[in-house]
């Protein structure tokens, strides 16, 4: 697998959320994703960036444009050094929230993307990696 292009962005303020959506959209457009897939990717990015900001006390996003020979892909890696997630299964359950959300972000993002990975350690932080491939 080849990384065609990559970029990193901070997620520290609610204004950064707007830049995340704009930059992810730009990558998705350049990779020639259709309008529905673009919308799914940007929405997923917005959900995970919001978690990074609200629960992870801020962090970073790395965007990678990929090629695996036959397909193009967009990989988004969100990292924070926040409190971590104690029970990942529970966090992924639709409707579970420890804040005042609807508990849809993680479960919904998993449905919107092709690949979804979450690695978290209590008191160390959380990394969420999501990928979408061209059809």
């Amino acid at each position: 697998m080849e990384v065609l292009k990559s970029d990193s962005l901070p997620i520290r303020t609610s204004e950064d959320m707007v830049s995340v959506r704009t930059s992810v959209r730009k990558f998705a457009t350049e990779l020639r994703f259709g309008i529905v897939d673009q919308t799914k990717i940007v929405t997923a990015a917005s959900e995970i960036a919001r978690n990074t900001l609200d629960y992870g006390r801020g962090g970073d996003l790395r965007m990678e444009a990929l090629s695996n020979g036959t397909k193009r892909g967009l990989r988004l890696i969100f990292t924070d050094r926040g409190p971590g997630i104690r029970d990942i299964e529970r966090a992924l359950t639709d409707g579970f929230t420890s804040g005042n959300g609807m508990g849809l972000g993680l479960g919904g993002t998993r449905r919107l993307m092709d690949e979804f990975e979450i690695a978290s350690k209590v008191n160390e932080g959380t990394t969420v990696t999501i990928t979408k491939w061209s059809r």
């Binding site: 919308t39 959900e47 993002t109 919107l112």
Partner: protein, 139 residues
């Protein structure tokens, strides 16, 4: 301070969201809107989101809040112009926008709101036949 403009059209308010709203702007809109509903005694709110390329759970929740707050203030909310890609994504995300009425166009949204106002006027007339009969009720 930045604001999303709110237009008054008779007894309705029209909001056209044209930018990717950051959080404070979205929260400001909720405050501004409730204030205007009370100030003008508006009976309907039309929110045009045709320019929005993304509706995530934060914006979805904001639309739901606006609809609930408006209802308490006796105004109906209709969200119009949602892009097909946004609708598909919202469903997959698991957000069906419960309690929010939607319409494809502003015109259709206005029709729904007018229908609502007429219906509630009829109810009012049915409840208070004398007041309706003397023709003095204000519209």
């Amino acid at each position: 301070m930045e604001h999303i403009p709110i237009l008054r059209m008779g007894s309705f308010l029209l909001i056209t969201v044209q930018v990717d709203m950051h959080d404070r702007l979205a929260l400001q809109l909720q405050d501004d809107l409730t204030e205007r509903i009370v100030q003008h005694g508006s009976h309907g709110v039309l929110i045009d989101i045709s320019a929005l390329e993304v509706v995530d759970s934060f914006i979805g929740r904001m639309l739901g809040n606006i609809a609930s707050m408006s209802r308490v203030l006796d105004a109906q909310t209709v969200v119009v112009g949602m892009r097909p890609a946004v609708a598909i994504t919202l469903v997959e995300l698991g957000m069906s926008l419960p309690g929010i009425r939607t319409a494809l166009t502003v015109e259709r949204g206005m029709e729904i709101l007018r229908g609502d106002v007429e219906n509630s006027m009829q109810e009012l007339e049915a409840e208070e036949p004398e007041r309706a009969a003397d023709g003095s009720s204000e519209v």
